[in-house]
Symmetry: C2
Subunit: 405 residues, 2 copies
């Protein structure tokens, strides 16, 4: 039983910077109002603030996870007193008999939710076309230096496509690079997969045919978020890589062909894998929008089309027209970024945003071998936050994200 009251700094493991002092405090009408020394005011609802009491009765001192049962809090909860400690912490005594809650001013400032505090929550990510300069980073720098790593990951998060150069061409290196970010997502193709021609291929990727621009694993409810492709050898003729930003294509289609855009974001198109050992199927819009109408992910893969049997019969011609219009757009040079991978290069891209393709290659002219793996988007976001947290802990200059020239 955790029954001993203990003061904790915050209800999480993060380090919070005290950038502003609290210079005024009062409470009324269900809210505690704090005035900061830059004049900004934070208003916290009683139940909100009470729930996030960091003490060890409310949050485990081991896991920092909540143990307070929020349903035990009375709806008429009010503060009995507010005080500031010498080092600027806010102390609240509550009407529910809870000993006291002590709040870190850095945490309070960072978790404020008044309009002024919520303004910079929505960073719109820039999209890109054929004129995009592929962001390139040095393998050794991103593996060893946190500031370089942050540039690399912020570029990946923002643009959905980055490249590393001077990567050792050993098998397994792609796994080490991936683990710099987080946990690999395995699939029926394994944890790490080798892209080369195979006699009993269970994917067109393992033939030498060209692969049109596509997302991997569209047959799953959630396609892999990140894809890593490490070029070990590319001596064969052909085998050039192409990339395209579907979020950009979506933006252009919405403007130029709104009726097509409407259909590809609304109709569910079915995909199925082909194998004698697994039978994955999923149907979803080719461009899936989030609740705010912004693109969340694309699902494009012409070699895994399943028969469209899931919509009213009369819709099918319109579905074909819309799908083909999107596929035609992916062929337009204004959207396509070309790069022929060389041994020692590794591309990492958001598989749910950025389509990738390769032109046909000719195995009798030389070898071509890539090694790859997948990862959820969650891992990238976590890695970025952990770099920011570590930087705060060290008290260093804020990290700056990569911005395309």
């Amino acid at each position: 039983m955790l029954s001993t009251y203990q003061e904790l700094e915050t209800p999480d493991f993060d380090t919070w910077i005290i950038s502003h002092d609290i210079v005024g405090k009062n409470f009324a009408d269900g809210q505690i109002s704090l005035t900061w020394h830059d004049g900004k005011i934070s208003n916290f609802h009683y139940l909100w603030l009470r729930e996030h009491c960091p003490c060890s009765l409310c949050h485990s001192d081991v896991t920092r996870e909540q143990i307070l049962d929020v349903l035990t809090l009375p709806n008429d909860l009010v503060p009995v007193s507010l005080e500031l400690t010498e080092n600027g912490y806010l102390v609240v005594i509550w009407s529910d008999g809870h000993h006291k809650s002590i709040y870190h001013p850095g945490w309070l400032r960072a978790n404020s939710y008044d309009d002024w505090a919520r303004q910079d929550q929505h960073h719109k990510k820039p999209t890109w076309d054929a004129s995009f300069s592929l962001p390139i980073f040095e393998y050794e720098a991103v593996m060893e230096d946190d500031r370089s790593c942050y540039k690399w990951l912020s570029a990946l998060d923002r643009y959905g496509l980055v490249m590393l150069k001077n990567v050792p061409t050993d098998l397994g290196t792609v796994g080490s690079v991936a683990s710099r970010i987080g946990y690999v997502k395995s699939s029926n193709f394994g944890e790490l997969f080798e892209v080369e021609t195979k006699p009993d291929a269970d994917s067109n990727a393992y033939l030498s045919v060209g692969l049109p621009l596509h997302t991997d694993l569209p047959t799953r409810e959630i396609q892999p978020g990140l894809q890593f492709l490490h070029c070990l050898i590319n001596d064969a003729d052909g085998g050039e890589s192409i990339f395209a930003d579907t979020f950009h294509i979506a933006k252009v289609l919405e403007r130029e062909q709104p009726s097509i855009y409407e259909l590809i974001t609304r109709l569910k198109f079915p995909f199925s894998n082909r194998a004698d050992y697994r039978d994955y199927r999923f149907a979803a819009p080719l461009i899936e929008l989030d609740r705010d109408g912004a693109p969340l992910e694309a699902r494009v893969n012409t070699f895994l089309h399943a028969p469209i049997t899931n919509m009213p019969h009369e819709c099918v011609p319109k579905a074909y027209e819309a799908r083909n219009a999107l596929l035609k757009a992916t062929l337009e040079d204004r959207f396509r970024l070309y790069h022929r991978l060389q041994a020692g290069e590794m591309v990492i891209f958001d598989n749910r945003r950025v389509l990738h393709a390769r032109t046909e290659f000719f195995p009798n002219t030389g070898a071509r071998k890539l090694q790859g793996c997948y990862m959820d988007r969650d891992e990238l976001k976590s890695a970025i936050r952990m770099l920011e947290r570590a930087n705060r802990q060290r008290g260093e200059e804020p990290l700056s994200p990569y911005v395309s020239p």
Copy 2:
């Protein structure tokens, strides 16, 4: 280059049963019409049928994935002739100069998309309350016999909760059971995780405190679909398990408290993990609906609540009210299924649908140890289809799903 024409049976690896013969065929107005000997008529749009030509120029004879470039098909494509072979296959010669397309009648029937063929696509899953009889299966039977396995998996798919009994209590067995279905999804807790008290716990699950009804990993964009929990020993006092079907709770709340239902299905509630090595966060409705307004998943976890900073300030009290109303509903006995796990039992449940809880246990009264793992929903669907496919290949009686008594 795949340039040799080769006849393939179907564009996939499935086995199709010829249950009905084609007795009539013609084409007009963009569609080929086939009349079956039971009088039903299937209409296929030209581009639809042309795309799914199974020949080796259109689908790789190795992978069965599409290699036909659909954008090369002329919009004015028409059939030049239709014929039936002696064994009832449909042969189409097309105006685009393609050699010929030969379609399996079982595949054509099964992939028909006229209204009559689409009628049984939408199976509504039954939901359950406290009166539900936990579907229980024998470990040995499901591991060794495909018909038993099918019952087990269909019960899991339909009700989201099943139990195995007489499971060997060896560490790692949960992995073998999981691999009867598909690939395990690993996370920061490992591929297989052991649920017991740990000194440096990174989750409340690894303390002895009670865990209120919750979903695991709500801090990820996609919570694990299936969760396996294998009881190795449960000798401690306490530690009873509780389950609840959120799809049922949602149905009841929609009827009884529509304004609450509206808020929990629309507002995004933030969750964050607590750890000094990973920082996962995600915000989503507590009940997420699909495009048809049916529940897709729940996201409920009181020990991983993050501060609500992502909605207009004046919405916060309503958000608290709605969230607490849902949490109160999970405490109602009409929704809760109780079962105290014994050594040798394993529960498997849809973590995105069925909440699980355990009451506090007391380690000084005895040991308690579970081993668990996660898996995507896709794997279950694939396993069910593969059992159906294998059954068709053997030409046996159709498999019958489990139905609760």
